[in-house]
């Protein structure tokens, strides 16, 4: 006899119970049995056949001790008798279990048609189910997804449950004993099945299967065998599916289980973190050494797999789905490359300081907090840190943290449920959850729930100050949400003023600046110098300033020039300016040898970025849409082809070709400048999740807006220059030398015979005087035009909103605005240079006087337009007499202050001109409508320089005050003098 079992051949006939079966092929060979695929004819329709499986008890004996004889019967040698009897007993036992279970649940147990003793052994005729053995599936499939694995396990659990419900333990669960069908799984091989009621009787024999048998089986500890023993094996199967390997002693004995469950297993790739965690949790708990520490029932384990599937699919509103979304958003939007600096928080109500962790604990428990702090104090960073800590690892018992950038509210057209919709937008819904109404309802249920004493969700609402003007609905929503049992809210604002009329019940806490000790520590850590200057030290208490300071130091580490510049900083705007300046220098250095790119960098930083900020300021928003930014980019792009623009900024003159060499059109320029540079490389623009653009910090807006205004001013000046002076707006064009004036000048000693300028200097002075005089005339004309509006006879009618008077005013304003700078006299460079060479000549004041008409023209373009809007527009809000009067008065006040200032400047500069020139100018202006009153009250020519300077300073102060007044009445004159 050999040691190989001799199987029945295809076509062999087996007569069992009077029925003749024909063997078709071998379905499989186990250690104790062989299973054949067989057919038999239907008794009625004899031409048709039934398909069955026939299980033949034929234990493997390595020495061939159990064999098939020449008659086809199974025989055995005496030495193998005991073994054979044992196998027969177990076969019969397994058959009995199979049949009993079939009686109870026929659809869920592998079918058993009949069993026989024949041919020296036992046979069972079994139903053909189709399906595949799980072991085969695992060996032939490259990889299953986590979802597929969970689905398989649910089927396996259904199969196991049949046994447990009938107080039986299978005790031999392994992939080769699991048959998978599309809708269910069967457990086969009942040889180790054990009735729980038999636990205390007799001696038992079980199968130990490497990688799947529970410790109590391996250690023969019958007292510990329970339902949890099967649970262990089920989880061992799951482990096999997840890792592709059977459990080994390393995992079990040496606590290597956690190490073998890595996030980079192929089955976990691309799966939500919460799902990966749940899968690992199932394995860890299911494979606990002690049975009482495992899942105690199939139902308990099934609940875990249900939860796993929910997490995989990420559908619906569940704690894990929301957490998963929050995490994804965090990863996409937050890119902090600096470490977080801990800051103290002052609890205003309780007058004590708390830490971030304490605040978080309060939030977990349910609270509503307003976190205030000035710009750059780190409010957003603080929230991002809370967010980061929460999304690092999924914890079932912890609330989900959901971050909402409130600046996005600006673009929602004042919608309701902004926060809720923000959340829902990021969740994936099943097809069952139809329509927003249903999902909102689910969300409300989530908000009303708690988990293990903690709230379900903590909203981090960042930037209430950036929501725009109309935020009543938002405030209401915040109040509603904070009233929910399962919700905590933390909202940031620059101040807590909102608490006086909204956000009832919110406690106010303040993020405190860094103390100097911390600033010192941080500068040490960053290896940057701690400034000696107190103002700078205080400035660095603001984390954003500290960060900027570090960046500035980083950009030009070795530059002593930078050190000097840094030491002179006393305001955030100066630091921002320095930073942007250094950033530009750095870019130029990086792109050294590529003049085109260098110019682009310069252009982007000096023009495009300020324009973006300017647009934000104009629209009173901190975010711009893609369209809005695109328009700026478009304008920016086309400016490079405009001669006037390039003449104004001559560094770009003739350079458009090299700058835009690889840029075909405005949209490519948009990509290059906005996306690649400002957003990407430089990080000065930030794109929100909704595709809006904002500055990296709104503290930059002020400085950049001013830069934008400056650019516009310069450009406008340029636009009005270079044309031939024609006509005159100068009253008293004839230059008459007035002796009296000359005498006055002599008396004051201003005119001296002792010194004399050189011929060249005289020539220069002459030209300078002429230029100044020409422009002063235009200036006077502009002022006069405006006064004619403000002092019109019908002004009372205008104040009373008389339509005729208003119309008249409108006309006058239009006339005034129609005047341009056609006659403006540009100061030639050689004259300017010549004046600079003249010792003590007050070039600044002189240039200011020459530019006076341009400045006034700018002023008019803003203020007059405003005045027209306020006084003449149907939509004007200024309806009250007093208000309208005040508008006129402050305007006039400004003009007067401006004029007075110019007068004093004129007085001052005149002292440095040649006597005859001075006399000419003074003479020309003493009769002007604008200046004549000053000539009456001020002893021009009779004062010493110091007195004039004092007069100038006083006039300057008045002018500033007048400007402030105008601003307070919402005149848009931010960028003017």
């Amino acid at each position: 006899m050999g040691n190989i079992r001799s199987l029945r051949k295809n076509g062999d006939k087996l007569i069992l119970g009077g029925c003749t079966y024909t063997i078709k092929d071998v379905e499989g060979c186990g250690g104790n049995s062989v299973v054949y695929h067989a057919i038999y004819n239907d008794n009625l329709n004899r031409e048709l056949q039934h398909e069955v499986l026939i299980k033949e008890l034929y234990p493997y004996h390595p020495r061939g001790g159990i064999y098939r004889d020449e008659n086809g019967n199974i025989s055995y040698v005496s030495e193998a008798e005991e073994y054979m009897q044992n196998c027969k007993m177990r076969f019969k036992q397994g058959n009995e279990i199979n049949l009993r279970l079939l009686q109870t649940l026929p659809s869920q147990i592998s079918g058993n048609v009949n069993s026989y003793e024949a041919y020296g052994t036992y046979y069972s005729v079994l139903t053909v189910h189709g399906g595949q053995n799980l072991e085969n599936v695992l060996e032939t499939t490259d990889s299953l997804s986590l979802r597929e694995a969970a689905k398989i396990m649910e089927k396996v659990l259904d199969a196991v449950e049949i046994f447990h419900e009938n107080e039986m333990l299978h005790l031999d669960i392994s992939p080769d004993n699991i048959i998978l069908l599309p809708e269910q799984a069967f457990l086969i091989d009942y040889n180790s099945v054990w009735s729980v009621s038999d636990k205390h009787n007799g001696v038992f024999s079980f199968c130990e299967k490497e990688g799947y048998s529970a410790p109590e089986i391996r250690l023969c500890d019958a007292g510990k065998i329970s339902y949890a023993t099967d649970i262990y094996s089920v989880c061992a199967v799951f482990y096999r599916i997840l890792t592709g390997n059977k459990l080994t002693d390393n995992e079990i004995i040496r606590n290597g289980l956690k190490s073998s469950l890595r996030a980079n297993l192929s089955i976990f790739r691309g799966e939500p973190n919460s799902a990966v965690l749940k899968a690992a949790q199932i394995v860890i708990k299911g494979l606990q050494m002690l049975p009482e520490k495992r899942y105690q029932s199939v139902a308990a384990l099934r609940r875990e797999f249900d939860e796993l599937l929910l997490r995989i699919e990420g559908k619906g509103i569940s704690h894990s789905a929301i957490w998963e979304s929050s995490r994804n958003i965090y990863r996409k939007t937050v890119h902090c490359d600096t470490s977080y600096i801990l800051q103290d928080i002052q609890n205003s109500y309780m007058m004590k300081q708390i830490s971030g962790n304490e605040l978080y604990s309060d939030l977990k428990d349910r609270s509503k907090v307003l976190l205030k702090g000035s710009g750059g104090m780190g409010k957003t960073r603080f929230m991002e840190e809370l967010w980061k800590n929460n999304v690092r690892q999924y914890r079932e018992a912890e609330p989900v943290v959901w971050f909402v950038p409130l600046k996005e509210y600006q673009y929602t057209a004042n919608e309701t449920a902004f926060i809720r919709k923000h959340l829902l937008k990021h969740l994936c819904f099943s097809t069952e959850s139809i329509g927003t109404g249903e999902s909102l309802h689910e969300l409300e249920q989530f908000f009303n729930g708690k988990r293990r004493g903690n709230v379900n969700i903590i909203f981090l609402l960042d930037g209430l100050n950036e929501t725009g003007t109309d935020r009543e609905k938002l405030l209401r929503e915040i109040e509603e949400l904070s009233a929910k049992e399962g919700v905590s809210v933390l909202v940031t604002e620059r101040s807590d003023e909102v608490l006086t009329y909204g956000l009832q019940g919110f406690q106010s806490v303040e993020l405190l600046p860094l103390d100097q000790e911390k600033v010192r520590q941080e500068t040490e850590k960053m290896q940057i110098p701690y400034p000696a200057d107190k103002r700078m030290q205080n400035l660095l208490g603001n984390p954003m300033m500290l960060e900027l300071y570090a960046k500035v130091c980083g950009l030009r580490k070795d530059s002593s020039e930078t050190q000097e510049e840094i030491m002179s900083i006393s305001s955030p705007e100066q630091l921002i300016q320095l930073y942007l300046g250094q950033l530009l220098k750095y870019q130029l250095r990086v792109h050294s040898g590529k003049p085109g790119i260098q110019l682009c960098s310069k252009y982007i930083l000096n023009h495009m970025l300020p324009d973006i900020a300017g647009e934000m300021k104009k629209k009173n928003k901190t975010l711009l849409s893609v369209d809005e930014v695109y328009k700026i980019a478009q304008k920016n792009y086309s400016n490079l082809y405009k001669k006037e623009f390039c003449k104004t900024f001559p560094e770009y003159l003739g350079k458009s070709r090299i700058m835009l060499d690889r840029i075909a059109d405005a949209s490519e320029w948009f990509d290059f400048a906005i996306e690649e540079h400002l957003t990407g490389e430089l990080g000065l623009l930030v794109k929100t999740g909704n595709g809006y653009y904002g500055l990296v910090h709104d503290n930059f807006i002020k400085y950049l807006t001013e830069a934008s205004e400056h650019n516009r001013t310069v450009y406008r000046k340029r636009q009005r220059r270079g044309t031939i002076l024609k006509g005159t707006a100068i009253t008293g064009a004839c230059v008459i030398l007035s002796l009296s004036v000359i005498c006055i000048l002599h008396k004051t000693g201003i005119i001296s015979d002792d010194k004399g300028p050189s011929e060249e200097e005289q020539r220069i002075l002459k030209r300078a005087a002429a230029c100044m005089q020409m422009n002063l005339g235009i200036f006077s004309g502009f002022v006069s035009d405006q006064k004619s509006v403000l002092e019109m006879d019908e002004i009372e009618g205008v104040l009373n909103q008389d339509s005729t008077a208003v119309e008249e005013m409108e006309n006058r304003i239009d006339i005034a605005l129609s005047k341009d700078l056609d006659n403006y006299s540009e100061l030639k460079p050689e004259v300017r240079d010549g004046l600079i060479e003249i010792s003590d000549f007050p070039i600044t004041e002189y240039v200011d006087l020459c530019d006076a008409p341009v400045d006034m023209s700018d002023f008019m373009e803003s203020a007059l337009v405003d005045l027209k809007e306020k006084m003449c527009s149907q939509d004007s809000v200024y309806r009250e007499y007093e208000d309208r009067k005040a508008l006129v008065e402050v305007y006039e006040g400004y003009l007067n202050a401006y004029t007075e200032f110019i007068f004093y400047e004129l007085d001052y500069v005149s002292n440095f001109l040649l006597p005859e020139q001075a006399a000419e100018i003074l003479d020309a202006n003493q009769y002007s409508r604008v200046f004549r009153n000053y000539f009456k009250t001020v002893q021009i020519g009779n004062q010493d320089i110091e007195s004039i300077r004092r007069g100038m300073e006083s006039a300057d102060k008045k002018l500033r005050a007048a400007k402030a007044e105008m601003l307070s009445w919402n005149y848009n004159i931010e960028g003017v003098k």
Binding site: G30, N32, H61, P62, R63, G65, V77, E79, A80, N86, E135, D176, K199, H200, N201, G202, V203, F204, S205, F206, C207, E208, K209, E210, P215, I217, R218, L219, C220, D221, G223, D249, N250, I252, I253, R254, N255, G256, K258, S259, L261, R262, A263, N264, V276, L277, A280, Q281, I284, K285, Q288, M289, L290, K293, R392, Q393, R395, E396, A397, R452
Partner: protein
């Protein structure tokens, strides 16, 4: 997939009165080392040879009664042993009686041959014989030992000792003639054959004398006294003790990356420096540092005027076969089988060095980072455990460990095993000590 060995075991764990008593005593409260010693000296009931043999003899007599066979010795186990073994060993009854008395009084324990003789005398089957051997000595039947294989066969076939001896001589002669060397080259090239594999084959294939001879023929080359799997594990643990920080390299690199501003090059230099400081220990240093544990090396038992100690029973039991430098070296070179005692000691000592968790724990891949201190999460995993839970878990793991290497499970009736059990529990009672340290502190008290 073929099934593995079918296991038979009784419905109730055989916790005798002795085991229950001892286990209860150790589990009941957080004993200090002093309290443990006190318990061991007063409350502990040591399962002696006498207890074990009495238990087996009782079952033997019970079977005889059930078969209505004559009980020759009528409950007198000493006479039984003396009579039966003297015949088998062919020595005088009186000599054997003396031996038996010594065994019964705990003066010494029988050697393997004598234990097998007892198995035959008690008509034990293969399984029960293995249990008896394991209870009294370190291991049950050693299936790589050719002589013990023959004895196992004899017991399986219900042969007499004499018949088995004869067969043994015959088979061993054949074995010696045909013996193929298990050369180092073969060991290096081939996959190692573990004892359990031999055991399984033996159970499945050997049913007749012919089978036995053929089995010997086929597996000649792999017989040897060395438990291969146990040897591998022993070597792994010894290496760990010799160079405990070797596997820490990856850990240190990670630590430096997270906590310093070193560049990659600087980090590597730092780790090299650390490795230099932690040079590999010699075996002698390992013994001295880890395995000495205050257990004296001298074997003198008499308290003479020179001041040598008279050891108590507890001390003797612990001291017996305590690994010395010489035994460890012999185990390393495979001259001697790795003993159960050594394996247990190494397991306790190396538990803290199992750095597989640390080595491979790249943060991004680690599913469990940040959660290890979360009580609620640990509860969900079933990992929240009190000291007793942890002890129970460790017992299961240690038993699986021993069983994997063919050694008998922890026995609360054995003094040494009780110390081990104590170490398993005590190390997690909020104390900072690891298992090895706790074990050591008990021995220090015992021997000083």
């Amino acid at each position: 997939m073929t099934k593995e060995n079918n296991l038979k075991f009784d419905s109730e764990r055989e916790y005798t009165y002795i085991s229950s008593n001892n286990l209860t005593g150790i589990k009941s409260e957080a004993l200090s080392p002093e309290e443990l010693i006190k318990f061991m000296e007063n409350g502990f009931i040591c399962r002696t040879f006498k207890d074990t043999i009495a238990q087996f003899y009782t079952e033997y007599e019970k079977e005889k009664r059930e078969k209505c066979e004559e009980q020759e010795y009528k409950g007198d186990v000493k006479r039984f042993l003396s009579g039966k073994l003297s015949d088998m060993a062919q020595i005088s009854y009186d000599s054997m009686s003396r031996n038996v008395r010594n065994w019964m009084n705990g003066v010494n324990v029988p050697h393997r041959e004598q234990l097998f003789q007892m198995c035959f005398a008690l008509e034990l089957d293969e399984r029960r014989a293995s249990q008896l051997l394991a209870s009294i000595s370190d291991t049950g039947i050693h299936y790589r030992n050719p002589e013990e294989l023959v004895y196992a066969f004899g017991l399986r076939q219900r042969m007499s000792y004499g018949e088995t001896l004869q067969l043994k001589n015959e088979v061993m002669e054949q074995y010696a003639q045909n013996r193929k060397p298990s050369s180092s080259s073969k060991e290096n090239k081939e996959v190692k054959v573990y004892t359990r594999q031999i055991q399984r084959k033996f159970l499945d294939e050997v049913h007749t004398v012919e089978d036995l001879k053929q089995f010997f023929d086929e597996n000649n080359a792999v017989f040897g006294k060395i438990h291969e799997a146990a040897y591998d594990e022993f070597m792994r643990m010894i290496k760990l003790l010799q160079n405990p920080e070797a596997d820490f390299e990856a850990y240190w690199m990670q630590y430096l990356k997270e906590n310093t501003k070193y560049t990659e090059e600087e980090r590597q230099k730092e780790v090299e420096k650390i490795k230099q400081d932690l040079k590999k220990k010699s075996v002698e240093e390992v013994i001295e540092e880890y395995l000495r544990m205050y257990v004296p090396q001298n074997t003198s038992r008499k308290n003479t005027s020179e001041g040598k100690r008279n050891y108590t029973y507890l001390q003797r039991v612990i001291k017996k076969n305590w690994p010395s430098e010489s035994t460890i070296s012999k185990m390393k070179t495979k001259e001697m089988d790795v003993s159960r005692k050594v394996l247990l000691l190494l397991f306790l000592l190396t538990e803290e060095f199992e750095v597989s968790d640390l080595i491979n724990r790249e943060k991004e891949d680690d599913i469990f980072s940040d959660l290890d201190d979360d009580d609620e999460y640990l509860n969900d995993l079933g990992e929240m455990e009190d000291a007793n839970d942890r002890m129970e878990r460790r017992i299961v793991q240690l038993n699986l460990f021993l069983e994997a290497y063919g050694m008998n499970q922890l026995d609360p009736g054995s003094a040494f095993d009780c110390f081990v059990l104590y170490a398993l529990k005590a190390s997690y009672d909020g104390a900072e000590d690891n298992m090895g340290e706790r074990f050591k502190s008990v021995l220090k008290l015992l021997f000083e």
